[in-house]
C-alpha cells in the first residue's frame, strides 16, 4: 500500500539512517541555546554553504523510493558539503509531492526523487487536474532503472510469455492477470502486452503487492505483473516461476530470466527513478548536481548498498534524461489512452 504505483512495491525499511538520531539529538541541544536564531543566508553560488538541500519523496517512508532517496542523500552530503533533508510528501500517486516541487524555489536546494511512470501518469491523465506538466520541472539526473516481471504459480501450464499469449488468443478475457493497481505501473505494461500481441486478458487490480502475491499463491489469478523484490523470495521457495521480464535488458537479480524482447515480443516497460527539480534551474546548478550524482553512483560502496536493496543504478545526464522523459511520456500517454478505451 505504501507505494502502489512504483513497479517494485515492497515496503523495505528505511536503511542506515542510524546516525541521524544522534546527530539530531546533538543538533537539538545546540538549538536549545538559540531557539529563534535566524540562519544567515547570503546569496552566493550553488550550493549555498550551510543551506540544506531538501529531497522531496512523494511516497511514504519505508518504500523503495524513500530508501533510494535516503541512500543517495547520505552519499551526496559529503560530496556537496551541505546537509541533506529527505521529506516525505506522500499521496495521490505522487501528485502532492510533485505539486510541492513544481512550486518550489528553483535554486537547486529543493529537489525530488521522481518515479517517472507515476509522475507522467498524474499529468497525462487530465481528469486528475494536476497543476503541472513536464515543462514545470528541470531534469537533473536519471538514477535507477527497474522493471516488473510476469510471475506464475510453480505448477502453472504457462512456461513462457508466448504460452500466455496463445491461451489469451484462444479464449479472450479468460487469463486472469493480477496487477498492483488500476492504471498503475503494473497495469500499463499489461496493456502494452495486450496491444502488441493483439490479445485480451482479464485484468484483476489489487491494492499493492501484498494482496497480489497472496492471490497468485492462492490461484485467484493465473499470472501476476509484479516487482522483482516481492517475487524473488517465492521463486526461491519454489512456489512461483517468472516467465518474462519487462525491462529493456535482463536484471542482475534473475540473470536467467529472459526479457519479453528475448521471447520475440516487442514490449519493454522499464520504470525509472530520476532526480528532478523545479523549472527554471540554472544550467550550472544542474551540472553541479548531476556530476555529483554521477560520482556517487560510480562508487563501489554505493553500488553495494543498492545491491543490498535489490536496486540497479542507471545514470543519465540531464540532457539524456530530458530526451528519455519526452519519449517515455509519449509511450505512457498512448498506454493510458488504451487502458481507458478498454474500460468503455
Amino acid at each position: 500500500m505504501l507505494c502502489r504505483l512504483t513497479g517494485v512495491t515492497i515496503d523495505l525499511a528505511v536503511m542506515h539512517m542510524g546516525g541521524d538520531i544522534m546527530r539530531n539529538f546533538i543538533k537539538g541541544l545546540a538549538l536549545a541555546a538559540a531557539l529563534f536564531s535566524v540562519a544567515p543566508t547570503p546569496a552566493s553560488a550553488f550550493p549555498e554553504a550551510g543551506k540544506p538541500i531538501t529531497i522531496i519523496v512523494p511516497f511514504s517512508p519505508g518504500g523503495t523510493t524513500d530508501v533510494s532517496a535516503r541512500v543517495l542523500a547520505e552519499f551526496l552530503e559529503p560530496e556537496l558539503g551541505v546537509p541533506f533533508e529527505v521529506i516525505n510528501r506522500p499521496g495521490a500517486t505522487t501528485q502532492i509531492g510533485s505539486t510541492a516541487l513544481s512550486q518550489a524555489d528553483p535554486d537547486g536546494h529543493t529537489l525530488s526523487l521522481a518515479s517517472l511512470p507515476s509522475l507522467v501518469m498524474t499529468y497525462v491523465d487530465e481528469a486528475r487536474q494536476a497543476p503541472y506538466d513536464r515543462s514545470s520541472f528541470t531534469p537533473v539526473a536519471h538514477y535507477i532503472s527497474g522493471a516488473n516481471l510476469l510471475a506464475v504459480q510453480a505448477d502453472s501450464p504457462y512456461k513462457s510469455v508466448n504460452d500466455l499469449i496463445d491461451a489469451a488468443r484462444e479464449n479472450p478475457r479468460t487469463v486472469r492477470m493480477g496487477t498492483v493497481g488500476l492504471m498503475s505501473n503494473g497495469h500499463l505494461p499489461g496493456i502494452a502486452l495486450e496491444d502488441t500481441a493483439d490479445v485480451q486478458f482479464a485484468f484483476v487490480h489489487f491494492n499493492g503487492a501484498a494482496p497480489l502475491v497472496t492471490a497468485l499463491l492462492a490461484g485467484d489469478v493465473d499470472v501476476a505483473i509484479n516487482g522483482t523484490q516481492t517475487t524473488i523470495p517465492h521463486i526461491k521457495a519454489g512456489k512461483m516461476r517468472a516467465i518474462g521480464f519487462f525491462g529493456d535488458r535482463r536484471t542482475a537479480f534473475l540473470p536467467e530470466l529472459p526479457t519479453l524482447r528475448d521471447q520475440q515480443i516487442d514490449v519493454a516497460a522499464p520504470s525509472s527513478f530520476a532526480v528532478i527539480g523545479p523549472a527554471g534551474m540554472d544550467a550550472s546548478t544542474v551540472e553541479t548536481l548531476s556530476s555529483a550524482i554521477e560520482t556517487v553512483i560510480a562508487k563501489p560502496e554505493f553500488q553495494d548498498r543498492l545491491t543490498a536493496l535489490s536496486l540497479e543504478s542507471n545514470y543519465m545526464t540531464a540532457d539524456e534524461l530530458e530526451a528519455y522523459w519526452a519519449d517515455f511520456e509519449t509511450r505512457q500517454a498512448r498506454l493510458i489512452e488504451l487502458a481507458r478505451s478498454a474500460q468503455q
Binding site: M1, L2, I10, D11, L12, A13, V14, M15, H16, M17, G18, D20, I21, S60, P61, G62, I87, N88, R89, P90, G91, A92, T93, Q95, I96, T99, A127, R128, Q129, A130, R173, T174, R176, L182, M183, A202, F203, V204, H205, F206, N207, A210, P211, V213, T214, A215, L217, A218, D220, V221, P233, H234, K236, A237, K239, R340, Q343
Partner: protein
C-alpha cells in the same frame, strides 16, 4: 510440535538475556509513550524508532521492535479511555465504553481490564502462532477477493444493525460515512470521484485525521462548553476490579481473542474490524444490549483482546508467506529485513533461531507491558487532575503534530478542524460516531472487493455463490439484516408509545 517446543524454549533463552530484557523494557516504554500520542500509532512508532534499532545486533533489534509493536497497542488505550481520543482506529471501540467508564470514575478499572485483556489476547495468540502457524496458512490463502467482499458485507450489515438510541440517526451516520468513503479514486475507472478538484482527496479522506477530529477534538470542544467540571468524576478513580467486572469480562476476553485472531489472519483486514466485530458480538450476546454505550466493561475487554489478538494474527501471513497482513506489519517487515531476517516461506527453515526469538520476545514483551502498565495506571489517571486550561492545549498540540507528521500535510490539519466541528455537532445532536469510523474503513474495501471479484469472474455474479465461505458469509449477512427487522420492529412499535429521553451516547 515437541520440536517446536524446544525451539521455543531456546528462543526464550535468547529473549530473556539481560541486555535483551533491557531493550524489551525500553521498547515497551517508548512504544507506550508514542502510542499514547494521538495520530502517532504503531506504524509511526516503528518508523520513527527504526534508526535506533539499526545500530543494534539483530536479536536485540527484534526484541525491541516487538516490544514497540505491543507497547503502542497498550498506549493508545490510555488516551482513548482518559480523553476519548483513540490514537488509532483499533482503540476507537475501547474509547466508546472505556471513556464512559472514566466519566463514571472507573477509568482505573477500564485501563486495568484493558491491560489484562490485551495481555491475554496477546499471549494466547502468540502461543497459537508458535504451535500451528503452518496449518493456519492455508486459511489465510483461502481468503480471495470474493471471501473478503462477503466478510466486509457482513461487517457492514453489523454496522447498520448495531443500533443506537435512534435507528434513524444511526442509519444517517452510516450512510454519511459510506458517502465519505466514496471520496477518492474509484476502483472501476481509476478516475477522481467526489474530490471536487482537490488533489489531497484523491486517496480518499485520510482516516487518522478523521478519528482524531471526530473523537479527540470533538470531545474537547464539548468539554469547553463547561470546562470546569469536564473530567471531575474521573479524578476520583480507583483501580478496582470487582468480582462482577471479572465475571463479565472473562468470556468477553475469550471470545475477543478467538475472533480477533481469526480476523487478523486474513490479509488486509487489520485490527479495526476485529475490535468492532468483538464489540458487536458482545452487544448481541449481552442480556442488556441497550446499556452498551453507557460504560459496559465487556465493551472494553472484548475489543481490547480482539485488537491485540488481531495484531498477532496479522503476523501469521508475514511469518509463513512473507506477506504483510497490515500496514503496520509491512513496516515491521522492513525493520526485520534491515536486521537480516527475510520474512517468507523459508524463514522457519533458514532462520529458525531468529523466528523463535521473535516469538518468545513477543511473549516477554506482553509480560513486561502488563507489569509496567498496571502500577502506572494511577499515574495516567492522575493526568486528569491537571487543570483543563493546561491539559487541553497540550492535547491539542499533540494532535496537531500527530496529524501533520502522518504525511507532512497541511490539508490533514484542516481535516482535524472540520471533523472536530462535525464531531461536536454530532455529539450535541446525539448522532452515534462509531458508524462513520467503520464505514470509512469498510466502504472502500467493500467496493474494491466487489470489483476485484467481478474482474476475476468477468462479470459473473455466481462467483459469490460457488465459493462456500463466500456464500456462508453472505447468508449470515442476510440473516443479521432480517432478524432485527422482524423482531426489532415489533419491539420498537411497542416502545414508541413512551417517548425516548436518552441523554448521552458518545
Amino acid at each position: 510440535m515437541s520440536e517446536n517446543f524446544s525451539l521455543l524454549l531456546s528462543g526464550f533463552g535468547n529473549a530473556l538475556r539481560m541486555e535483551n530484557l533491557i531493550f524489551a523494557f525500553a521498547g515497551c516504554f517508548l512504544g507506550t509513550l508514542v502510542g499514547m500520542l494521538p495520530g502517532l500509532g504503531p506504524s509511526a512508532a516503528i518508523a520513527i524508532l527504526l534508526p535506533i534499532t539499526a545500530a543494534m545486533d539483530p536479536t536485540a533489534a527484534i526484541v525491541m521492535l516487538a516490544a514497540i509493536y505491543y507497547g503502542c497497542q497498550y498506549g493508545d488505550t490510555i488516551t482513548a479511555v482518559l480523553f476519548n481520543t483513540p490514537g488509532t482506529g483499533g482503540a476507537a471501540m475501547t474509547a466508546v465504553e472505556g471513556h464512559m467508564m472514566a466519566k463514571q470514575g472507573r477509568a482505573g478499572t477500564a485501563l486495568a481490564i484493558a491491560a489484562i485483556a490485551s495481555f491475554v489476547g496477546g499471549t494466547i495468540t502468540v502461543g497459537v502462532l508458535a504451535m500451528i502457524a503452518l496449518p493456519l496458512t492455508s486459511l489465510a490463502l483461502s481468503f480471495g477477493p470474493p471471501e473478503f467482499f462477503a466478510l466486509i458485507v457482513l461487517s457492514l450489515v453489523l454496522v447498520v444493525t448495531l443500533g443506537s438510541s435512534s435507528i434513524l440517526r444511526g442509519l444517517i451516520t452510516t450512510v454519511f460515512g459510506l458517502i465519505l468513503a466514496m471520496v477518492g479514486t474509484d476502483p472501476v475507472m481509476g478516475l477522481p470521484r467526489l474530490t471536487f478538484g482537490q488533489m489531497h482527496l484523491l486517496d480518499g479522506v485520510a482516516f487518522i485525521p478523521v478519528i482524531i477530529g471526530l473523537f479527540g477534538v470533538g470531545e474537547i470542544l464539548k468539554n469547553l462548553e463547561d470546562p470546569s467540571n469536564s473530567f471531575r468524576e474521573a479524578v476520583v478513580s480507583k483501580l478496582q476490579i470487582t468480582r462482577d467486572d471479572a465475571r463479565r469480562s472473562a468470556p468477553a476476553i475469550a471470545r475477543g481473542t478467538v475472533l480477533g485472531f481469526l480476523i487478523g489472519i486474513i490479509p488486509g483486514m487489520g485490527t479495526i474490524p476485529a475490535a468492532f466485530m468483538s464489540y458487536v458480538t458482545e452487544k448481541r450476546l449481552s442480556r442488556t444490549p441497550e446499556r452498551f454505550g453507557t460504560g459496559m466493561i465487556e465493551g472494553v475487554a472484548g475489543p481490547e483482546s480482539a485488537n491485540n489478538a488481531a495484531a498477532n494474527g496479522a503476523l501469521l501471513p508475514l511469518l509463513t508467506l512473507g506477506i504483510p497482513g497490515s500496514g503496520v506489519v509491512a513496516i515491521l517487515m522492513g525493520a526485520l529485513m534491515m536486521n537480516g531476517i527475510v520474512p517468507g516461506p523459508l524463514m522457519f527453515e533458514e532462520q529458525s533461531d531468529l523466528v523463535w526469538t521473535l516469538i518468545a520476545s513477543m511473549y516477554v514483551g506482553n509480560v513486561i507491558l502488563l507489569v509496567l502498565n498496571l502500577p502506572f495506571i494511577p499515574m495516567w489517571v492522575s493526568i486528569l487532575r491537571i487543570p483543563y486550561s493546561f491539559l487541553f492545549p497540550v492535547i491539542l498540540g499533540f494532535t496537531v503534530v500527530g496529524a501533520y507528521s502522518l504525511a507532512n500535510s497541511q490539508f490533514d490539519l484542516g481535516l482535524i478542524a472540520v471533523f472536530g466541528l462535525i464531531g461536536y455537532v454530532m455529539r450535541k445532536l446525539d448522532f452515534p460516531l462509531v458508524p462513520i469510523i467503520m464505514t470509512l474503513i469498510l466502504g472502500p474495501m467493500m467496493e474494491g472487493g466487489l470489483r476485484r471479484s467481478l474482474e476475476m469472474s468477468q462479470g459473473d455474479f455466481t462467483i459469490f455463490l460457488n465459493r462456500p465461505i463466500t456464500a456462508g458469509f453472505l447468508a449470515l449477512a442476510v440473516v443479521f439484516l432480517l432478524l432485527p427487522l422482524v423482531s426489532g420492529v415489533r419491539r420498537r412499535l411497542k416502545r414508541a408509545s413512551t417517548p425516548v429521553s436518552s441523554g448521552e451516547t458518545d
